[in-house]
């Protein structure tokens, strides 16, 4: 009985295969195009209805206040350093240090990010998780680089030469009226050419993004896997009032 069914299955399989094999289909013409998904297209009701509860939950969480900013924080309020740049670099320093200490027993010496990476200002008023998504839409993680000697000097030279207030923390830089480097210190100590410094930055910059090639001349790289945006959100949750200002970490002296 089972044998007969087996035979039958084999027979049907052969019939189906034979009928398929006879098809000598060849491509005669091909058309191809890109379809733009634009605002005049109708939307699927079932998909809309399915997404709705997810969207509402997400929005309620994203828009709930985590902290309060008494003044607008922006990257454009200072020439050599800005309130928002300082805030970002300080957040990276404060929020990442415990992770780095736990993993290496060492502290971060300084932080450097890129001015262009700050994508939005932080408006006066409630600060939410959405704020963090606006400021940092990229999926960048914080990495720690072991750098010494020439690489650190190149970093500072780049900062000075760029003319941009790239966010820094733990670094004190002085330039003259001629816009040439006068001095720089790390954590208030004079620069030591032979010391290995722990520098925190983003994975994007560590790969040489924004032409920060000095980051490629490093001795070690530790990827914390910690998203810059998550560091911001964690920081917002810890503080009631979000304050940031232009200060003297990078200034021009006479």
């Amino acid at each position: 009985m089972s044998l007969k069914i087996q035979h039958f299955v084999i027979f049907v399989t052969i019939v189906v295969c034979l009928s398929c094999r006879q098809e000598q289909q060849t491509v005669t013409s091909i058309t191809g195009k890109e379809l733009l998904i634009h605002e005049d297209l109708p939307a699927s009701d079932s998909i809309e209805a399915f997404v709705k509860p997810y969207r509402e939950h997400l929005n309620s969480v994203l828009d709930s206040a985590l902290a309060y900013a008494p003044r607008t924080i922006t990257r454009t309020d200072g020439e050599l350093n800005s309130s928002e740049g300082n805030l970002m670099a300080d957040i990276v320093m404060q929020e990442t240090n415990p992770i780095v200490i736990a993993r290496t027993g060492r502290e971060i010496d300084f932080v450097m990010l890129n001015h262009g990476g700050i994508r939005s200002l932080i408006s006066e008023g409630d600060v939410t998780a959405r704020t963090a998504y606006e400021v940092m839409p990229f999926e960048n993680t914080i990495v720690i680089l072991g750098m010494k000697g020439k690489a650190v000097r190149d970093l500072v030279e780049y900062l000075v030469k760029s003319g941009e207030p790239h966010p820094i923390s733990g670094l004190q830089v002085r330039i003259g009226k001629d816009r040439k480097l006068r001095s720089f210190q790390v954590q208030g100590m004079p620069f030591d050419e032979n010391k290995m410094y722990f520098v925190a930055t983003s994975d994007y910059l560590a790969k040489g993004g924004d032409y920060m090639d000095f980051f490629k001349s490093r001795d070690t790289l530790i990827n914390t896997g910690y998203y810059l945006r998550n560091a911001m959100i964690d920081h917002f949750k810890k503080v009631d009032t979000l304050r940031a200002s232009v200060d003297d970490r990078y200034i021009r002296i006479d």
Partner: protein
Amino acid sequence: MERRSFLKHTGATSAFIGLGGLGLSACSGSGPKHLTILHTNDVHSHIDPFPEDHSAFPRKGGIARRAALIEEIRRENPNTLLFDAGDIFQGTPYFNFYGGELEFKLMSMMRYDAATIGNHDFDNGLEGFLAQLPHAGFPFLSANYDFKDTILDGLVEPYKLFQLDGLKVGVFGLGIMLKGIVNDALYGETRYLGPIEMAQEMSDILKKEKQCHLVVCLSHLGYEYDRGELPSDLDLAAATRGIDLIIGGHTHTFLDRPVVRKNKDQQDVLVNQAGCYGVNMGRIDFYFDKTGIRADGATINI
């Protein structure tokens, strides 16, 4: 004698008729056949349309609109296949909140037929991907990620065969080198195999052994590279034989139309990529006939 008892078996008889019917409808369509392939890539968790004030894509995209358009195209031509070339995950809070669950569920509702794995699909690690797999009602295909020593062992196939209206379509997936762009811990013991070599192996299996009418590659290699340190889709097209269509991703390349390249045998290969974030969807239509015209004599209207 055997035949008589065979026919007496009513269950088997009805099965025979059923299968026979299937065989007929699957293989005997006499007129020219028409296959539509729709594809997305690098949607990156973009479910809602972009807002009015977005600098690059104001009011564009949106999964509900895409779903409606796909349904409309399917009504016109039921012989439609829908693919994604990777980086489904990461890019909006939907991913951070739900870990890709919503993306997979929506793609299943839209009846995606297959997808390949992009580098960002590893962003929550192999565990994060595995956790969402039950929500995906479509297979993930990769011929050059070897997951044998990982928790994804047996869950990702190199290729899949699709049979529509008597047409046999073979589809395989390719992924980019993970080292350097994905944190090592996230992809674990996943082994990266040479994409060009694996593509040729797949193409040979699908075209020669499986007798496919069409071979499609879902690639997350990237469209083109200046420095050429990694193989791109254009490199892949030129260095292989047997592939008809390369559906690309990774480089977020917006093309005005698909491009045509010559393969190793000087035959045409189509390469397409649909930008990113669900702003574009690619559409390729293949028309077949039994006239015996050689495949490379096809007219390509793009």
